[in-house]
């Protein structure tokens, strides 16, 4: 990919260097451009560093590009341009995601998602034709984990969904579905979990509980969690790092959202 260029001039501002623990995700000067109905939207990420094991919140209003950023991190969306996009996973060597996209190496990207990422969708994203137990265990099966069944039962007990393991998702409440979705994202021991507004479909009281459980489980496994939400209050006390967006209307047909670190309580 070439030096990123935007449709209007962007001045790349080097942030002040921050001493961090090792970063699991590093993005530099990334741009994602999307167009719809003749109107363009640019997401600009000058510098993004996610510490290993941290609970990262990505907060913003609707349409600011937070879900787009999550898709980019989930390796399901290709950046329009970037200088660096790397995963520093447990094995030590960095994975050059930029190079993988440039080579259109879909197989490697899918392997990274399978082995190193977990995903929690807004309404769970459970497969309706599998039982709860089968849904939770599916990522572990795809990764080739052995003996995951015990882990599934233990996690289910922890999240209070043990009694519905043999049921299909259609028989679960919203909260139960989200807890199951979180377990599914965790069971195969990923390095990173991405949660896209996981509590959007549940009430506030349950939402706080779910997020708290999610955070506890992730931290207990030293899993880096990245949670997208529009509710800052939900993550205020839990997030180690928070990223936000500044949206500006550059032109009549162009909006630009710049993602930047708002708060870092990680040490």
């Amino acid at each position: 990919m070439a030096k990123p260029k935007t449709t209007a001039s962007v001045e790349w501002i080097e942030p002040a260097p921050i001493e961090t623990a090792d970063d699991i995700v590093v993005i530099k000067e990334l741009i994602k451009r999307r167009e719809q109905g003749g109107v363009a939207f640019e997401l600009v990420v000058p510098d993004l560093r996610l510490p290993r094991g941290a609970f990262v919140a990505i907060v913003g209003e609707s349409g600011c590009g937070k879900s787009t950023l999550l898709d980019l991190l989930a390796l399901v969306m290709e950046p329009s341009a970037c200088t660096a996009f790397e995963f520093h996973l447990g094995s030590g060597a960095a994975i050059n995601v930029k190079a993988l996209w440039a080579a259109d190496d879909e197989g490697s990207l899918a392997a990274i998602r399978r082995n190193h990422l977990g995903y929690v969708l807004q309404t769970g994203g459970l497969l309706p034709f599998l039982t709860v137990e089968q849904n939770i265990g599916l990522p572990a099966r795809l990764k080739g984990c052995i003996g995951y069944q015990a882990d599934v039962r233990a996690l289910a007990k922890h999240m209070d969904v043990e009694t519905v393991l043999q049921k299909k998702p259609q028989f679960l409440s919203g909260g139960q579905r989200q807890r199951v979705a979180i377990l599914r994202a965790l069971v195969h021991g990923p390095d990173i979990i991405l949660a896209d507004e996981p509590t959007a479909a549940v009430d506030k009281a349950r939402a706080a509980s779910i997020v708290a459980h999610f955070c506890d489980l992730a931290k207990a496994r030293n899993t880096t969690s990245i949670m997208v939400t529009h509710d800052h209050n939900l993550i205020a006390k839990l997030a180690d790092v928070t990223y936000g967006f500044t949206v500006t209307r550059v032109a009549d047909d162009l909006s630009r959202s710049v993602c930047s670190e708002q708060l870092r309580g990680w040490s």
Binding site: S67, D71, A74, V76, M77, E106, G107, A110, A111, I112, R113, R114, N115, L117, Y119, L121, Q122, T123, G125, L127, P128, F129, L130, Q134, L138, P139, R141, L142, K143, G144, K168, D196
Partner: protein, 612 residues
């Protein structure tokens, strides 16, 4: 294949089947849809196969349907039988004799009552005998048809007396044989009263009836000598015959043509020239057949007392003498007649009907024809690609090569019958002239039509059950075309429905498929999801259709039990056709799912996620 890929395929198959199970109502409907098309097709195929095979079995079982029979008397040389026995498709071929010559008397045991029965030759490999569980009769043995056995009151193991008779030189002669009955054919094999015996016995009976000896059985008789035949008769008269006399020569004599000849024409025929003064020469000929001594005697009776000279003749022919081809005339003239004509009589004199070999094998040659010292010569005559050699003794000189009329007459008979010089008998003898018919059976029912057509192409008038067989073949082709017509319509509809169902399923499961991609399943494995569902659905349909076919088939066959023999079925489908139908159905389902599979690969994970 790497373990991870195998694992992924297994997981996708399980997910596909789990989805079908989850939407069991739709799955059941789709399975029933395909089964509802497949089951009637299987039934149609089974009815076609069962019906045709039942009809074919009925034809195949009965060897009568594999027989090709001559419609008229023929003259088939032994070489024809040797050649046709080698032909592919011919299972059994045996010559037969004239119908009239094959009738024989059979006597009941210890009785003077007899029956006249037809004698039919048989031999090893005869399907009519062998396939009806009867042994082939050898020497001293016979097999009876069911009506013959009933008429004789005979059973297997009994002895019957057969008698053959003839009239020879005005005397009735007969021979009897004691024959053992070794088998009796069932009624359906032969509905007429007949006796089946070895070809040797049948030919021996024919030979005996012709007045000849059969040394093998110790039956006396003559040798098969060759009688002379003529191309015409010359009548030489000192006074011309009037019209009445000429007309009478055509009545009751066998001669149709009476022609007046000049001396040159006479010389052309018999090698001598009658005197010009007073002698009239007439040529009597038949239109089609050869003239015989009997015809000559009739003319002699008509012109009795007229003082005419009667000289039968055979047309001059080429005889190779000592390697030299010579055009030879035949003349036998007694000295008295020769004197009247003013010619030198040949040394052998007049015509003798019972002339011996030494008398007939003489020749007069021009002086320069062959070296004078060569008294004992060899003559040969060619009949097509067959040559007859015989000895010749030089009896003197003549300006035109001349042999006894008896010799030329015998050689002329060789144009119609096969003759050979027998060194032992020192005489020309008749060889077997050929057989008048045959019994022919083909290997299979499918060989009948081509063998029949090949015989017709040789201008042999034959009959076979061609129409019955062709009817079955036409029926088979027609049913096959009908089946495919129905099948194409039905199959198209079923697979179109399946394709639509699988495509609709992919559209409904966009999010689920997107989640599977999100979890790390590559595009290629997601491609397999609808295909595995197609295979599972079609396999279920095949099983249901097979069950329906077997049930309906059993009902149909039970209904028609009374019309069928043991083991036959009206509805019957061989296992291999079942397998082919199953494989074709599954293959068709896989092809139907291709569009849905391609659609599945186009689902981007991000798109599916946002669809929430």
């Amino acid at each position: 294949m790497p373990a991870a890929r195998t694992r992924d395929i297994r997981i996708v198959i399980e997910l596909a089947v789990a989805d079908l199970h989850h939407e069991w109502v739709l799955t059941l409907c789709m399975t029933l849809t395909v089964a509802a098309v497949l089951a009637p097709l299987l039934l149609l195929l089974g009815l076609k196969h069962g019906t045709i095979e039942t009809l074919r079995a009925r034809l195949v079982e009965d060897p009568v349907y594999r027989e090709i029979k001559p419609n008229q008397t023929m003259n088939l040389p032994p070489q024809w039988f040797d050649e046709w026995r080698q032909r592919p498709g011919v299972a059994f071929l045996l010559p037969t004799i004239l119908r009239g010559a094959s009738v024989i008397r059979g006597y009941r045991k210890n009785s003077r009552e007899f029956l006249l029965l037809d004698l039919v030759p048989t031999g090893p490999g005869d399907p009519l005998i062998g396939e009806n569980q009867s042994p082939i009769p050898g020497d001293g043995q016979i097999v009876l048809s069911s009506p013959a056995a009933e008429a004789f009151g005979a059973k297997q193991g009994d002895a019957l007396t057969l008698e053959v008779d003839r009239t020879r030189r005005g005397t009735r002669e007969s021979q009897q044989m004691e024959m053992a009955v070794v088998g009796i054919l069932p009624g359906k094999a032969d509905e007429l009263p007949r006796i089946y015996a070895s070809l040797d016995l049948v030919v021996a009976i024919e030979t005996y009836r012709e007045g000849m000896a059969v040394p093998k059985f110790g039956w006396p008789g003559g040798a098969p000598t060759v009688a002379s035949s003529f191309d015409g008769l010359l009548v030489l008269s000192e006074a011309p015959l009037d019209n009445l006399e000429l007309g009478s020569l055509r009545i009751g004599t066998g001669f149709n043509i009476v022609e007046t000849l000049d001396s040159g024409a006479v010389r052309e025929r018999i090698g001598i020239t009658p005197p010009d003064d007073g002698w009239s020469a007439y040529d009597l000929r038949t239109v089609t057949t050869a003239a015989t001594q009997a015809n000559v005697k009739q003319v002699q009776r008509q012109l009795r007392g007229r003082g005419a000279i009667f000289v039968p003749y055979a047309r001059a022919r080429t005889i190779t003498v000592a390697g030299m081809p010579l055009t030879v005339v035949g003349l036998s003239l007694d000295p008295a007649d020769a004197g009247r004509l003013g010619v030198t009589p040949p040394p052998w004199g007049g015509f003798h009907e019972q002339a011996d070999g030494a008398r007939v094998t003489q020749i007069l040659l021009p002086d320069n024809a062959v070296p004078p010292a060569a008294e004992r010569l060899t003559g040969s005559v060619h009949y097509g690609n067959h040559a007859v050699e015989f000895p010749l003794a030089r009896a003197g000189s003549a300006s035109v090569p001349t042999v006894p009329l008896e010799l030329l007459g015998m050689l002329r008979t060789g144009d119609d019958r096969t003759i050979a010089w027998d060194a032992t008998e020192q005489m020309f003898l008749l060889s077997r002239k050929g057989f008048f018919g045959f019994r022919l059976y083909t290997q299979t029912i499918d060989d009948v039509v081509p063998i029949y057509r090949a015989l017709v192409a040789e201008r042999l008038d034959v009959t076979a059950s061609v129409q019955e067989i062709e009817r079955i073949q036409i029926l088979d082709q027609g049913l096959t075309r009908l089946f495919w017509l129905v099948a194409i319509v039905g199959i198209s509809g079923a697979f179109a429905a399946l394709a639509a169902s699988l495509y609709g399923a992919v559209e409904r499961k966009k999010q689920a498929l997107g989640v599977m991609r999100l979890m790390g399943l590559p595009r290629v494995h997601v491609f397999g999801f609808p295909i595995y569902q197609g295979i599972a659905l079609s396999a279920g349909s095949v099983a249901l259709a097979a069950l329906a076919f077997m049930t309906l088939s059993a009902v149909i066959n039970r209904v028609f039990t009374s019309e069928l023999q043991l083991g036959q079925r009206i509805s019957d489908l061989p296992l291999e056709q079942f397998v082919v139908a199953g494989v074709a159905t599954v293959t068709g389902a896989m092809l139907s799912s291709l569009y849905a599979a391609w659609t599945a690969t186009q689902i981007e994970p991000a798109e599916a996620i946002r669809a929430e």
